[in-house]
């Protein structure tokens, strides 16, 4: 079972995502945006960063990369795809997830810890979480203010597509616990069939409690569970550096 981490010129979180997957024992490879094959991957992560310099709109240009035709087919086939930060913006621009991401309310780039409550655990990315569990992730973005019109929002809620919502330390909701203004405090959103999910905060940055939180591991362990139903509990504790060659 293999995970591919898709990256573009301007991505900057792909190595962290590869590291996170390998940490939980997943065979993982980088997928450059010009590739015309997914190298037999069974799941994809669309890495964070600033693809194409965020020109025009965040994620708008990444949609036209050659690999994205394959990503569309991958999504339609029901394979798991996780978009993190810029990856979420790309999935939304592609129309694989509904709605749009606007500039944060208050017009500030926010780099901070944030808490989210897990509402759905029937997902390849949250099956290792408990329902109602509060996770602490790091976030760093300017355009993460999730927006959808009323009809779309009603549809999203009715279909149980909100996987996590921003909250306070005890799960309380309110503007003071919503770091970017996202409507309905939506922090993680999936498509109707549940195989495609996006979120702005970075699970790959919170893998070790010595760095503040290890909650991010749960998402990668969930993916491992989804890909290998009888996965062993113990996995490799250390992984080597990731080798990468860049051909922009």
């Amino acid at each position: 079972m293999r995970v591919g981490v898709v990256y573009y010129p301007g991505s900057n979180c792909e190595q962290d995502a590869v590291h996170a997957c390998r940490l939980v024992g997943l065979d993982t490879t980088l997928v450059w945006h010009k590739q015309e094959s997914l190298d037999g991957c069974d799941a994809l992560i669309i890495a964070g960063g600033f693809s194409y310099g965020d020109h025009l709109r965040c994620g708008a240009l990444a949609r036209f990369s050659p690999v994205m035709k394959l990503v569309e087919r991958f999504a339609a086939a029901g394979q798991p795809i996780l978009g993190i930060c810029n990856g979420f913006q790309i999935l939304v621009e592609m129309g694989l997830l509904p709605g749009a991401l606007l500039a944060n309310d208050g017009l500030k780039f926010r780099c901070q810890d944030t808490r989210m409550q897990v509402e759905r655990t029937d997902s390849p990315f949250t099956n290792a979480c408990a329902e109602g569990q509060i996770l602490r992730f790091n976030m760093a973005h300017y355009e993460g203010n999730y927006f959808a019109d009323e009809a779309t929002l009603a549809d999203i809620e009715a279909n149980g597509q909100v996987v996590m919502r921003f909250c306070g330390p005890d799960g309380e909701r309110g503007v003071e616990h919503n770091p970017n203004g996202s409507i309905h405090d939506i922090a993680a959103l999936r498509n109707r069939s549940g195989n495609v999910m996006g979120l702005m905060p970075h699970p790959e940055r919170v893998l070790d409690s010595e760095l503040g939180s290890s909650d991010g591991r749960l998402m990668f362990e969930s993916l491992r569970n989804a890909l290998t139903p009888s996965a062993p509990a113990e996995v490799a504790a250390s992984v080597g550096p990731v080798e990468v060659s860049i051909d922009v």
């Binding site: 709109r57 749009a100 606007l102 208050g106 959808a148």
Partner: protein
């Protein structure tokens, strides 16, 4: 032929930049600014001299890339001076 695509946030989408700019104008002493919305303008030069083809191309560009229809609306204008001189309609109708 020259064309222009104007893209702006839909009315129902909050435009915090527009709100901030309106406040700044108020601070500068410009009274009576009710509301202000910020948008983007794309000036496009096309090889065609056929206004119908130009309009079709600009519409298509707006839909495919320049605007995100979830949050933005757009307008297409033809800017060719000859066309304006002849008083032909330049089609200012907006699109949701």
């Amino acid at each position: 032929m020259r064309g222009q695509v104007v893209v702006r946030l839909k009315q129902e989408v909050l435009d915090p930049q527009g709100v901030t700019i309106a406040k700044a104008l108020d601070n500068l002493g410009y009274e009576g600014v009710g509301s202000l919305r910020q948008g983007k303008i794309f000036d496009v030069e096309l090889e065609t001299s056929d206004p119908v083809a130009a309009r079709t191309a600009l519409e298509s560009m707006a839909k495919d890339l320049l605007a995100n229809p979830v949050i933005e609306s757009y307008e297409v204008h033809l800017l060719d001076q000859d066309l304006l001189d002849e008083g032909l309609p330049n089609g200012d109708e907006g699109h949701a």
